[in-house]
């Protein structure tokens, strides 16, 4: 294989690529812009910033000590931004998407909840109105609400005025109630003990009644993010830049494949084929130029992410470069596949756009693959983008060593070999 035609093909393709300002912008600027946006979403709060709060409304129609306690608990919760509008206003805000949910505490809730807490009284409803497109936030509201309701009800029942009143009201009723004597005796003993407990609490000194706690969570959670190291925070930009770079280098290479079809239409392949240059050299030249452009896109994107967003290669630098090169070669051979299988530039453009979007979506370039159902996670192992994105994740924020790059590199080169073989066998070499 002569190097003069090969290097000339690479140089020519690079000149053509950089002469097209639109291609350059789409290939370099757009992925950086989109990755920055996605990175800001998926990075989560950093150490100095507050987490995004869920907007919730509470409509307290009860105004009992228990309901007031629930509202106070929700307002103090760092997860929520609580407002207390009228019910109609809250419903309208949820419908319009301004609120994730609205909680209505109906009249009589406090008394009914107290009765249900100790006895077999009917459990009062707590109405939650929610935006169906934000079911995850609704689940959070319901879960955390449970904690605040339990705290408020138990606090009142074990020392609040509402609890005392309920015990004092219930004891005489039990005396005259129709129930077996042993059960009646046990219930009276229990409530009498509760009453004695109330009476032992000093009205002034010691633990003030107002600060007495009800039932609280009997544990605390220590969270530890498994990143590259104990002092290294997860950087969502690493994933978003890897994903977007892979997406746009695939688009760039698909475009090179389409350009090859246009070159055929314009008779340029007649010139190429009439020259004493082998088919292998022609395809290799295209593959090398595509790989060089792909590698530039990938490295420029990550260079930006490193300089601006502090993304670091926490794993193996050699592994990162290996995956970058393997991804570039895979994308480049994908371009050859487009040129080989495409009938015309117009049809190829539509089909390849769909193919690239499917590959990047299934490959976890937009959102990490771990959120997929289990069967889909297995299926996407057949998508080269999955290996590229997971490999880049492993070498950046996960901090995996060189060993972690071996499988992605091998699989990506395997895809490249398969794409090349199909392209070479299906390429239309005759120029009638």
């Amino acid at each position: 294989m002569s190097l003069i035609p090969l290097s000339a093909m690479v140089r020519k393709d690079l000149q053509l690529f950089f002469s097209d300002r639109r291609s350059v912008i789409v290939s370099f600027v757009v992925p950086i812009a989109i990755a920055s946006f996605f990175g800001s979403i998926f990075s989560g709060p950093n150490r100095s910033s507050e987490p995004a709060k869920i907007a919730v409304a509470i409509i307290d129609q009860d105004s009992s000590p228990i309901s007031t306690g629930i509202v106070a608990g929700m307002q103090a919760d760092k997860n929520f931004k609580v407002t207390t509008p009228a019910e109609a206003e809250a419903r309208d805000a949820v419908r319009r998407g301004g609120l994730a949910a609205a909680v209505i505490i109906p009249k009589g809730f406090g008394d009914a909840a107290g009765n249900a807490f100790f006895g077999d009284g009917a459990k009062p409803p707590l109405n939650v109105i929610f935006d169906p497109s934000r079911s995850t936030e609704k689940a959070m509201v319901s879960g955390i609400m449970t904690q605040h309701v339990m705290e408020s009800v138990s606090k009142q029942m074990f020392g609040g005025a509402q609890g005392r009143a309920m015990v004092e009201r219930t004891l005489p009723q039990i005396q005259g109630a129709q129930m077996p004597d042993d059960e009646k005796r046990a219930l009276i003993n229990m409530l009498s003990s509760v009453q004695q407990f109330y009476n032992r609490q000093p009205s002034g000194g010691g633990q003030a009644a107002g600060t007495r706690q009800g039932i609280t969570m009997p544990y605390t959670v220590h969270e530890e993010a498994m990143t590259a190291g104990s002092n290294i925070a997860y950087n969502g930009y690493a994933h978003s830049f890897g994903g977007m770079a892979i997406q746009f280098l695939l688009f760039a290479m698909a475009n090179i494949g389409i350009e090859m079809l246009l070159e055929r239409q314009r008779g340029l392949w007649k010139r190429l084929r009439s020259a004493p240059v082998s088919r292998f050299t022609l395809l290799t030249g295209k593959m090398v130029s595509g790989a060089v452009i792909s590698l530039m896109i990938l490295l420029v994107c990550f260079g930006f992410a490193m300089a601006v967003f502090g993304v670091r290669i926490q794993g193996s630098v050699l592994g990162f470069l290996g995956i970058a090169v393997a991804s570039a070669v895979m994308a480049s051979t994908f371009g050859l596949l487009v040129a080989a299988l495409g009938n015309s530039p117009a049809t190829a453009r539509g089909i390849t756009t769909l193919a690239v979007l499917m590959m990047v979506m299934l490959g976890g370039a937009w959102v990490p693959a771990f959120i997929f159902p289990a069967w889909l996670q297995q299926f996407t192992l057949a998508v080269p983008v999955r290996w590229a994105v997971d490999g880049l994740d492993a070498m950046t924020w996960r901090g995996i060593g060189l060993r972690g790059a071996i499988a992605p590199v091998a699989v990506l080169f395997g895809f490249a070999a398969a794409f090349s073989a199909i392209a070479a066998s299906r390429f239309r070499w005759e120029e009638a």
Binding site: R266, G267, K270, R271, S274, A275, P276
Partner: protein, 246 residues
Amino acid sequence: MLHVNHLRKTFGKLVAVDDVSFTVDRGQLVGLLGPNGAGKTTTVSMIAALVTPEKGEVLVGGARLAGDTDPKKRKIGLVPQDLALYDELSARANLRFFGALYGLSGAALDKAIGATMDLVGLADRLTDLVKTYSGGMKRRLNLAAGLLHDPDILLLDEPTVGVDPQSRNAIFENLELLKSRGKALLYTTHYMEEVERLADRIVVVDHGRVIADDTLAGLQSRVAVAGERATLESVFLTLTGRSLRD
């Protein structure tokens, strides 16, 4: 210099070229004429090794042309019907690329670029982007790209389509100069007056077969009417008929 022997090519059931044979000697321009779909471009494509013939052979300087990397391909220059140029690149970048495909590089390539651009009268536009060229200038640059590696045989597939009379005349002068330098030229066209002016011999093909191979005078004598010399167009219509072929 160029011997085409019994070439045959089919596309499915269509017989595009069937037993086509002719020769082109040094310093000779052979006009290849035929209606649309007659098999001219397929014949040129087989000579340029763009299409593999099912039967027959192409001899260049007496040796059979075989394989993609056959060095004898350097003796052939192709000027395709399409403007096979990269519009976004300069003329120099185009020619550097096409020259490199034939193994030219460095000073030899620069010298070849200078000589061909002088020949086609575009030396002063060497660094301009091709997209800024007029149609006629692109045609001349298309010719230059085929001449760059100094081939002995030049295949010209309708090289004057869509050019103004001035550019066409300039191309004719280039071809006459090349002929005088001993190049063998095969020229396909639909313009009869071009062949009348340039061709030493004329090969007429129709339905994939050679139906005439003669000098202009020889062809004219075949259809002479009342002692008057027939035009090439009337000869052509007599040989190929008047039915539409599109």
